[in-house]
């Protein structure tokens, strides 16, 4: 049953996604693509939309995938699924906070997870690059326009930081790249 599948899949995503938004993307992508709910391109689109709309990416992805697979009920079920694990865990932690911190094992576990999360995030960007820009899995024909655009975006990002001292906000970059997309294609 699709509702159960949506709930369980997103529950699992919600339960193991340490490190927030971008770390979840790799798991969301993996699950949604293997279930046939999203293509790689749709994954990138939903990430993009999610950056421009309010709300955490995981919740947005759940809502979107649930909606496209099984309408309102589907999106509700997926969203509840992705939120539930952390809801329960935080409740438990809030109630037991002081006591839990005494368990060094807990913080040792979390410390161990940290480098892995960073690796996941960077690898996600790397594999997306390899499959979308270099088209590694479909004949290694580089999408030249995407490659140039990417270089351009990186340069703009670096210049912005030089000039304004802070990183450009995701929204600014997205709007900019949207305009560039229209120009390039």
């Amino acid at each position: 049953m699709i509702y159960l599948k949506l709930f369980l899949t997103f529950f699992e995503i919600g339960a193991v996604s340490f490190g927030g938004g971008y770390a979840m993307i790799s798991l969301i992508g993996e699950k949604c693509i293997s279930n046939g709910w999203l293509t790689e391109e749709e994954l990138l689109n939903i990430i993009a939309v999610s950056e421009s709309t309010p709300g955490p990416i995981a919740v947005n992805a759940a809502t979107f995938v649930g909606a496209t697979q099984a309408n309102v009920a589907g999106s509700l079920v997926a969203t509840v699924g992705v939120v539930l694990p952390s809801f329960i865990i935080i409740l438990l932690i809030s109630a037991l906070f002081r006591k839990l911190l005494k368990y060094n094992v807990v913080s040792a576990f979390l410390k161990g997870v940290r480098p892995s999360v960073v690796a996941l995030i960077i690898s996600t960007a790397a594999t997306m690059f390899l499959s979308q820009v270099l088209n590694v899995n479909s004949g290694f024909v580089t999408d030249v326009r995407s490659a140039i655009l990417l270089t351009l975006i990186i340069i703009i990002g670096l210049l912005y930081k030089r000039i304004f001292k802070t990183s450009a906000s995701p929204i600014t970059m997205i709007i900019l790249s949207g305009i560039l997309g229209v120009v390039f294609w």
């Binding site: 990138l44 990430i47 709309t53 935080i90 995030i121 594999t127 906000s169």
Partner: protein, 191 residues
């Protein structure tokens, strides 16, 4: 303030915050700080930092974790529930509506071209976030080894089209952290 009033207040405040948090979790933390610490004075700076630390270390979106924690602190289970639901509702509605039109939305050539550009940008944004995090973790041997091992493994699986779930990486590296901890404490005792 009566309990019902507090819960309702939480609900509407979180809904407002949920509506204006563009760009992800960290943006929400800034909003939460100004609303709950500076404005309503419901929690002080130290507790706020605790909450941020917990939210970062536990699974789930940071935004949701913060909402749940604050709600619980303020008004127990009901508070946690209303805060969490409140923060999710705006984005739920917006994304649901967008999903209904997305196919048609993308058929407009201008828009689908814009999205081609945006897709590239997303790769950049993710890489940027990852590199930022990379700079912030300490370069202990464990971290370097874990990071390299996971990255290498993921890339190999990608090229060989093997499907090895992300969940395993998290669990294995967490457990390795625990093992290292035990080894270090045994060593510590021997000194």
């Amino acid at each position: 303030m009566s309990k019902i009033k507090t819960v309702a207040n939480l609900f509407f405040t979180m809904m407002k915050i949920g509506l204006f948090t563009f760009g992800g979790g960290y943006a929400m933390i800034a909003l939460l700080e100004s609303e709950f610490v500076a404005n309503k004075k419901w929690i002080n700076k130290d507790e706020f930092l605790d909450m941020t630390a917990i939210s970062e270390s536990t699974p789930g979106p940071i935004a949701i974790n913060c909402a749940t924690y604050l709600g619980y602190k303020k008004a127990g289970f009901l508070g946690a529930l209303s805060a969490t639901v409140g923060v999710c509702i705006p984005s739920f509605i917006i994304i649901y509506i967008i999903s209904l039109f997305f196919e048609t939305f993308l058929k407009v050539e201008l828009i689908s071209n814009a999205f081609k550009g945006i897709q590239v940008c997303v790769i950049y944004l993710i890489a940027r976030a990852g590199l930022k995090m990379f700079k912030s973790i300490s370069k202990t041997p464990f971290n370097i080894i874990a990071f390299s091992a996971v990255t290498l493994s993921i890339l190999i699986c990608f090229f060989l089209s093997i499907n090895f779930s992300t969940v395993f990486y998290i669990i294995i590296s967490g457990l390795s952290g625990v093992v290292v901890y035990f080894v270090e404490s045994i060593r510590g005792i021997n000194k």
